[in-house]
Each structure stands twice: as C-alpha cells, then as structure tokens.
Symmetry: C2
Subunit: 150 residues, 2 copies
Amino acid sequence: MQSSADIRPGEIAVDHEPTHDASVTFIGRIRTPYRERAVCPRQGKPDGPLCQIEVDSIWRPALSGLQPGQTIQVLYWMHLARRDLLVQNPRMDGDLNGTFSLRSPVRPNPIASSIVEIHAIADGVLSVRGLDCVDGTPLLDIKPVHCPKA
Amino acid sequence: MQSSADIRPGEIAVDHEPTHDASVTFIGRIRTPYRERAVCPRQGKPDGPLCQIEVDSIWRPALSGLQPGQTIQVLYWMHLARRDLLVQNPRMDGDLNGTFSLRSPVRPNPIASSIVEIHAIADGVLSVRGLDCVDGTPLLDIKPVHCPKA
C-alpha cells in the first residue's frame, strides 16, 4: 500500500518513516454499503444510503444527549489509505495538488470528517445517510454541530 | 491529569486503559496567544486574534494550492486533555452531558476541528483568526472546505 509503485504520474511522496507521536483509540466502526474502496463515492451526500455508526459498548454512555434530527460531525480513520503523499494527482488527469488542498483520504493523518444528521439512535447505533467510507472503517469521534460552519 | 480527583460532581469516567489502535504524526504546531488552558476561549471566533499554523518543513510541499481567502478545516490534537470521561459537567452547574454531545476537548480521541479562513500564507506558516487552543498545540491536518457544511 505504501509502495512507490502505486504512485501516479507527477505525484510526490515524502521520504520519511511515520512518527508515532500519539495513539488513537478506535471507539467503534462505520457500516456502509461499500465493501471496497473502489466503489466508495468521492464524497458523501445527505440523500445517500443509510449507514450505521456502531459505538462500542464501553463508550455508549457518552452518547447521552444526542437525538434524532440533530446534526453531528463524525471523525473516522481511513485505515486503508497511504500516508506519505505530498502532491497528488487524484483524477489521474495531470492536475497536481498539494495534499492539504485536497480532501483525499491519502494524507499524513488519514482522519476523515463528515457532517450528517442523526436519522435514528438505538442500542449504541446511530443511523445516518450518505457517509463515503468503506464498510468497517474505524470510528474516532462524534461531536455535535452547533452552527453550519462548526 | 487522568486522576479521578479531577472529576467534577456527576461526571463518569470509563474504567479502561486506552488502546493504541493507530498512531498519529504531528505535522506542525499552532501558535495562539493562550499560554495555558485556563485562558483559552470556549470556542474560536472568526474575529478572534491572529494565530499561526506552523507546518513542519517536510510537509510544506503539501500546502501547494492553498491561497489566502480560502476557508480551511484544521485538525489538531488537544494534548493536555484527559481521555476517559463518558459524562461531563462542563460548566460545573450540574448539567450533565454525554461526551459525544459536547465539543469539549475531553474525549476518547482529543481531536479538535475548526473552520477558519486563511489570512496569509508564507514559508509554511498559515495566519488565521480565532483558533481556541493553547499555544503549541500539535497540528494533525489541514483540509479545504468546499461548502459551508464540509
């Protein structure tokens, strides 16, 4: 996955071993209809398919106060993405972009952030529409969104 | 910092050692006027003071394509926050909330997300207004925001 053979024309990888500066704890996982990366949409849509955010049992008390209809921010770990690209050619069309000017999953810390509305919540599972990740993606965090730009 | 002596009335901590499921790499740091947590604002404001996002030299090529005036999402690691609270009493007023219904830095993965506009960018430093974190907070990621809800 980190092999330079996977690099597209014009892409630049950093020549550096990843540092381990802090650890993340997976608190659950995301269920989507996408069984592999090749079929994931480029970005989520509010009218996309229903997905489930499964929160592990020890963390479920932390869901208290969340309600259907509420808008939340979901952070998740794009575990299949390489982490060493500085410049990317995301559409393979020669249009090169710095990693920080893209929302590609390929980045030094593969943390995705999506804003979704809670459709239903029961037994530690939040149903939402239109997440973009592969089925089984590790969950990092759920936060309320207080205003459109939060 | 993880001592139960720091718990406020009504708060509930999880009895569990943090797991190390993946590692994050600090890619720079955030400079703010706030030298300690006690003086940080509860949330950032677009008209707040100028702050600097310093990107480490090896990651600077990944900034290519970002411009002043552009709106970005910044992810950073709240390194001083405890990670074990399930239920919090954030204003010490007895109003208890589950961690995932709050944007408090205290959460299993202390990843903060803020939306700001680039004021200036030079030599790997982005100037922005109104971040809320303590000076020296580790930087995780910068992403463009394509629409108000991204």
